[in-house]
Amino acid sequence: MMEFVWLIPALPLLGFLILSLFNKYIPKAASGYIASGMLLGSFLIVLNLLFSAIGGNLKPTVVIVFDWINVGDLNLALSFQLDNLSVWFMSIITGVGFLIHMYSISYMHDDEGVTRYFSYLNLFVFSMLLLVMGSNYVVMFTGWEGVGLCSYLLIGFWFKNQAYNDAAKKAFIMNRIGDLGFLLGMLLIYHQFKTLEYSQVFDQALKIINPNEQSGIMIAITLLLFIGAMGKSAQIPLYTWLPDAMAGPTPVSALIHAATMVTAGIYMIARSNVLYSMAPCTLDFIYIIGTSTAILAALIGLTQTDIKKVLAYSTVSQLGFMFMAIGLGGYSAGVFHVTTHAFFKALLFLGAGSVIHAMGGEQDIRKMGGLMKKLPITFVTFIIATLAIAGIPPLAGFFSKDAILALAFEASPVKWGLGVFAALLTTFYMFRMLYLTFFGEFRGTTHQKEHLHESPLLMTIPLMVLAFLTVVSGFIEIPHVFVHDGSNWFSHYLAGANIALPEASHISASTEFMLMGTALVLVVLVILITYVLYVSKKTLPASSESEMSFLDKLSYNKFYVDELYDAVVVKPIALLSDFNSNIIEKQFIDRIVNLSGRSIQWSGKTIRYIQSGDVNTYAIFMVVGIVVILFLNLVL
């Protein structure tokens, strides 16, 4: 089995090479099938690994593909770490990735750049696999940069629209800021431990660092790595790129900006959990960032009117939830939420894509409504995902959110309250969107109304598969209070990958039931409120800003964070650039350059009269020159 491991990333890479090198010779209709076929191959191999991992037969293994860097005492190999954690992520990436490839075949079929689109998608999957499979930080970093590049390419896929290009650049630059932190963290690890291999780093860390006292170096390393995670996983203060990233095609938003790439930060921290557990300070910091991101993004989500923007803020908020879990020390709860989120958020995005497809490109939920009857499959799958994200049992979201909330309650009831508050906000904006889109009367143009249709099978099958997964994936981590045997299967599974089992909870069963019940009742209450607001009363979000209340305006304008960044960072830098360009460049550098040019011109103009055309003059110069040289030779 292990001999074929290198094929997992190699197949998507091959697909990328074929599609990009023979772009012109491949029929447009075939490119999607080539890309999907490659991914299916990887998925089957991964599935094999997953089954042996689930059976408990997968020993953590390092597969070396080739020696990569040998400089001084730095020996790096391109090698893959295969254990329960990486195989789990690989399954999500290739599985959800394959479904989204399939969906894209139909969604993108009439786009002129479809071959380019699929080549980028394959490159993305390759990079993402590299990220999770690498057995040292350098391979992870390579994948980390690769996914950033693909994200940039795909956000700016329709590059003729300048706004989309700007969104792509914003994503890239925000990610660069985070990547710098990651790089510095990596260098610090190397400086401290003289190696970058996971297993060696963790061994050394356990040996060198005394767990009982705070170690500054560990805090620095973990904080720097977390800055990388902030960029990639869109946390405060680097989250503003993700909502803008919705400029890309909808399947891209589903795959990259919801299901896989943005969870890279969680994977990185879960992978380095040994280091993070030694730095409780960092964990507290992660908790604060995660919680504030979850709440802030949810508050912004409340008033957005673009269907994809709502989902984008929901993604940011859910990522905040995952970091909340990690900040509380619940690595397995974080990864569990990654898993369920990957399914229901991909489903939501693909559902939104199906809606946008039917509406002929319209994304404003104020102009939708009543789509329930026209798009039955999309509606049913969408409502499953919405219920899941709201945390209605027995759907996946209930279990993963409950695991995080239970952790929070153990830390303190206030933390639990904050978590529930974020969850309620999530429920509100998700149901607001659901009602506005699928219930009530159709509010679009008559032309759109005639055009409404359910998406083809190639698009609805992924929806159905994801809906199925959304329903069942929660059962991998049933809390202890429900069953006696076989509870918390997923935590035990991850324990095989060096992620410590969470301590047995000391909350009594009755308290836990009460917590679940309270959260559930509140969620249902919020659902009813939104129903009354948006279905019974048919409230519509204000069509212009002037009609909004102050708070609405604040949320609708994303708390003016973009404007704040513009004023604090962008403007000063632009000012400095202007100064450099107008004063330093034009007044100093340009003048020096011009001066040298002009002096050459002047001397040429003056000295050229020596060339008189008179042969005798030349001859005299020559003779005088020779005499002078001879004279100098004789005398000196």
Binding site: R608, Y609, Q611, S612, G613, V615, N616, I620, V623
Partner: protein
């Protein structure tokens, strides 16, 4: 024996002055020939001084090549005369700034 050196220097300088002062291209050619042959003479002198025959043989070669060379020069001179109707060097001043 240094009188040979003095003679050659005088001949060479005469040639050089001829080139510098004369305006007639034909005379300038002749002056150049004088410079060349002063050097040839010097070569013969040194060959005798060092008891080495090759220097004298070399001079014959130089004379043969110089004859061929001057033929080309004269051909050009004829063309200049046909073109400009004069062999004064001052009429050739077009190639300047």
């Amino acid at each position: 024996m240094s009188e040979y050196l003095v003679l050659c220097s005088i001949l060479f300088s005469l040639g050089a002055f001829g080139v510098l002062y004369r305006r007639n291209i034909l005379v300038m050619f002749m002056s150049i020939e004088l410079m060349l042959n002063s050097v040839n003479l010097l070569m013969v002198y040194f060959s005798a001084l060092h008891n080495d025959q090759s220097g004298q043989v070399f001079v014959f070669f130089i004379m043969a090549v110089a004859a061929a060379e001057i033929t080309i020069g004269l051909a050009i001179l004829v063309m200049i005369f046909r073109h400009l109707g004069s062999i004064n060097i001052d009429s050739l001043k077009k190639l300047k700034w």
